[in-house]
């Protein structure tokens, strides 16, 4: 049945090199009208590069793109021109949205669609067309709102509307769910299905097996720049896809039983004065013991940021006491906290984890740059820094050109490995891991999990803040829930199920839920 649908797009032997790195190696791909294709692969597998070539952001070193014209005949697409791609009916929703925040929704959508040198803009026809599109697709958004004020979910709707407004027949979405809540993701895929039923061909990039299996008709797997498999989603199972994507079997980490030791971190009715619920804590108490992982669940923005900042020493409590190994913490300074034995895995690795333009060696040494290990009398010991970086690269299998390479060149997973190496080096007694696997692919997630569990076996206490409930159940001995700046008691994870946790996340009392 699939074969009867006409071909709308064909990529032929696309090859792209960035210096010595081969990002795409002779990739072929065919798309048919009205189908949803998932492009599956780990970070750095070349998915985004391939789509950027299709859309004309990059020039391929070899290969060509063919797009069906109005009569169904395949025509070569002029390379390196987004203008030509748009004209040929290709729309792209980038992972990092391409919206001008100072403009309104309508301005963003109509940008570039009118004759550039017209003396005035006629928005009436654009409005009518968009109202119609919104009614048909269910993608509603206030056309006169300034983009800066809109949430990510709404911004993504604008991006899709941008493509539909230009009568796109092929829609490319790069990691569309990376910034969405599970509910928003479900809504997005329902919309894409409806659009595909109306004849739109959809390609979406993902490294999440769940959504690939549930949302696509067909899946193409990329690994190391090559297409390693392509199959109907209906017949594919997750384990096989995961193996194809990573290239080796993935061993799920198991939490071995372990008796917790003495209390490492004790929060006693700690409050933090913040200006909103996200940055405020209201009388939070928590006992965290050696050899124990305590997970913190909750819908994002309920005070998790404040809790993480507090435990990293970035903010001082306004009330309550905080004790680390029976020593009351009084000096609220991130450097002092690191020195006291707290390892920090920040929520946003790009903005809070690393300094992108600095080298891997510099980043690895950054948190302890003031210690004797990395300096003598105010002079840096470059040898020691390089050596530390080389050990991290070897020990954590960080894929990179070398210790002197700027860390921004690393993929998300490899950057996170470097942060892990830094945080776990020196065997910290307490590890605060805030969304440690967000945006990482299956292989890197497994690695982060393995490292955190190994730290637990060694005797470290781990505070894990995560929105991934599977992850919380997999790693945590006990789970507490944050809701409106308050933290519930931490309950043994063995006695909790997803439903109970879900209700607690919506603000219900655990005792009440259990009854």
């Amino acid at each position: 049945m699939t074969e009867t649908r006409p071909i709308v797009l064909e990529l032929r032997t696309i090859t792209k090199r960035f210096g010595p790195l081969v990002a795409n190696d002779a990739v072929d791909l065919v798309m048919r009208k009205g189908e949803i294709l998932a492009l599956l692969g780990e970070n750095g597998a070349g998915k985004t590069t391939l789509m950027n070539i299709l859309f004309g952001h990059y020039l391929a070193d070899a290969g060509e793109v063919l797009v069906a014209d109005a009569h169904g005949g395949l025509q070569p697409l002029p390379p390196g021109s987004p203008h030509a791609a748009l004209a040929a009916g290709i729309g792209m929703v980038h992972q990092h949205f391409t919206l001008a925040e100072n403009l309104t929704v309508l301005d963003n959508i109509t940008l570039g669609t009118e004759p550039l040198f017209a003396l005035h803009r006629s928005t009436r026809a654009a409005r009518a067309k968009l109202e119609d599109l919104m009614a048909r697709s269910g993608l509603t958004v206030d056309l006169d709102a300034t983009v800066a004020r809109l949430a990510v979910g709404e911004r993504q709707r604008i991006e899709i509307l941008k493509a539909l407004y230009r009568d796109a027949r092929i829609l490319v979405l790069d990691e569309p769910t990376a910034v969405l809540t599970p509910q928003e993701s479900d809504g997005l895929f329902a919309t894409l299905r409806a659009l595909a039923a109306q004849g739109l061909s959809v390609v979406f990039i993902s490294h999440k097996l769940n959504e690939v299996v549930s949302a696509s008709d067909r899946v193409a797997v990329l690994r190391g720049g090559r297409k390693v498999a392509e199959r109907e989603t209906a017949g594919a199972d997750r384990a096989t896809l995961a193996e194809l994507m990573v290239g080796r079997p993935i061993a799920a980490s198991r939490r071995e039983p372990r008796e917790p030791g003495r209390t490492v971190l004790k929060l006693d009715a700690v409050s933090v004065a913040g200006h909103d619920v996200r940055t405020r804590l209201a009388s939070v108490s928590l006992d965290l013991r050696e050899g124990e992982v305590v997970g913190v669940a909750g819908v994002s923005g309920n005070g998790q940021t404040a809790l993480a900042s507090l435990v990293c020493g970035l903010v001082a409590p306004s009330a309550g006491t905080m004790t680390l190994l029976d020593q009351a913490l009084t000096e609220f300074d991130p450097g002092a906290f690191v020195a006291a034995g707290i390892g920090r895995i920040p929520e946003d690795r790009h903005s809070e984890g690393v300094v992108g333009s600095m080298s891997i060696a510099e980043n690895v040494a950054l948190e302890t740059i003031g210690t004797e290990r990395f300096q003598t009398g105010g002079f840096l010991k470059f040898g020691a820094m390089r050596q530390a970086a080389e050990e991290a690269i070897r020990g954590y299998e960080i894929k990179c050109p070398g210790p002197d390479a700027p860390i921004r060149l690393l993929s998300g997973g490899n950057m996170q490995k470097a942060i892990l190496a830094r945080a776990l080096d020196g065997a910290p007694k307490l590890i605060i891991a805030n969304q440690p696997t967000r945006g990482l692919d299956v292989g890197a997630v497994a690695e982060v999990h393995r490292r955190l569990l190994a730290a637990r076996m060694r005797g470290a206490a781990v505070l894990l803040i995560s929105e991934d409930l599977d992850e919380l159940f997999e790693l945590s001995d006990r789970i507490a829930v944050m809701f409106r700046s308050r933290l519930t008691a931490a309950l043994p994870s063995a006695g909790l199920d997803l439903k109970t946790l879900g209700l607690m996340m919506a603000g219900h009392d655990p005792a009440e839920v259990a009854a």
Binding site: H57, P82, H83, L86, N102, L111, G112, L119
Partner: protein
């Protein structure tokens, strides 16, 4: 109070608007560049080039309007140099801009010496005359303030309105505002980021040059070294003061002109009790105060000073 009497005299506001005119041109040009994401620190030199070119064109026998066009053309040329450096090659906008200022200033002085090797004092030209439009110029208060100015002052005000209309009402203006905020958004919509930015810098520089031309062809009647005297830098500050909006830029320029006109008159009123240099400081001090008070929360174009290189990872 004598001091406040100054503010209600017509001659004070006539002077304020005259002093403001080169600033209106300068800030409008700077705003066009910056809205597209390019900081044009070549402004000081470009105004010098405009002053020099306009005047020498008339001195060598050209018409006044011919001088205006020549000044704009030379300004545009300087803008093109800056655009190639900062947009095409993606070099530092600070360094390139200061480089263009030094180059353009020196080239102006050089041209002056080549054309007039033996002049001790620069030859005078017949500058633009005040308009004196029958009817309009006779209107009370508004008449003299607006219509006893030279044509260039009215052109400056018209240009502000034109720029506001262009930025807010035309597709090209929309693209220009978008390219200074997020060039990736512009490219994703199939437009050429480099062409837009280069166009904005060239056009903005032509407008800046008009500010210089006003000095030699309207405010004075000859070209002197150092005559631009930091007006370009004032315009860069005024752009921030205006939050990159043409209307507020006009108000900012007039405000500065008023401070300057006020200081001259205040010297006459207060006399020798206070050293003259203190009065000269007043407009700059008040400008800094205005900047602090009104522009703390200015929302600058997000991609200002960020070069865009296609296909870069």
């Amino acid at each position: 109070m004598e001091i406040f009497d100054i503010l209600v005299t017509v001659s004070f506001w006539v002077a304020a608007l005259r002093i403001a005119t080169p600033l209106i041109f300068g800030v409008t040009g700077a705003l066009l560049c910056e809205r597209a994401g390019v900081l044009n620190l070549g402004i000081e030199g470009i105004m010098t080039v405009g002053a020099m070119t306009g005047w020498i064109t008339v001195h060598l026998g050209g018409s006044l309007w011919g001088g205006v066009v020549a000044a704009m053309a030379m300004g545009a040329l300087c803008g093109l140099v800056l655009a190639v450096l900062t947009v095409k090659l993606g070099l530092s906008q600070h360094v390139s801009g200061l480089g263009v200022t030094m180059l353009a200033t020196s080239a102006s002085y050089f041209t002056y010496r080549v054309v007039l090797p033996n002049a001790n004092t620069p030859p005078r030209i017949q500058p633009f005359e005040p308009l004196n439009i029958p009817g309009l110029s006779d209107l009370p208060v508004i008449g003299p303030i607006l219509f006893q100015q030279t044509a260039l002052t009215l052109l400056a005000i018209a240009l502000v309105a034109l720029t506001a209309w262009f930025l807010n009402r035309t597709p090209l203006g929309l693209a220009l505002r978008a390219v200074g905020e997020n060039p990736a958004a512009v490219e994703a919509q199939g437009l050429d980021v480099h062409r837009l930015r280069m166009g904005a810098v060239v056009a903005g520089s032509a407008v800046m040059a008009l500010g210089g031309a006003f000095l030699t062809m309207s405010a004075f009647n000859a070209f002197f070294f150092e005559m631009v005297a930091g007006r370009g830098w004032i315009c860069i500050a005024l752009t921030v003061f205006a939050s990159w909006r043409p209307g507020k830029a006009l108000i900012g320029a007039i405000l500065f002109g008023a401070f300057d006109a006020f200081q001259v008159r205040l010297q006459q009123v207060v006399g020798g009790a206070v050293p003259g240099q203190v009065f000269l400081m007043i407009p700059y001090l008040l400008s800094i105060v205005a900047l602090v008070v009104w522009s703390r929360k200015a929302s600058y174009p997000k991609a200002l000073m960020v070069p865009y290189i296609k296909g870069q990872r």
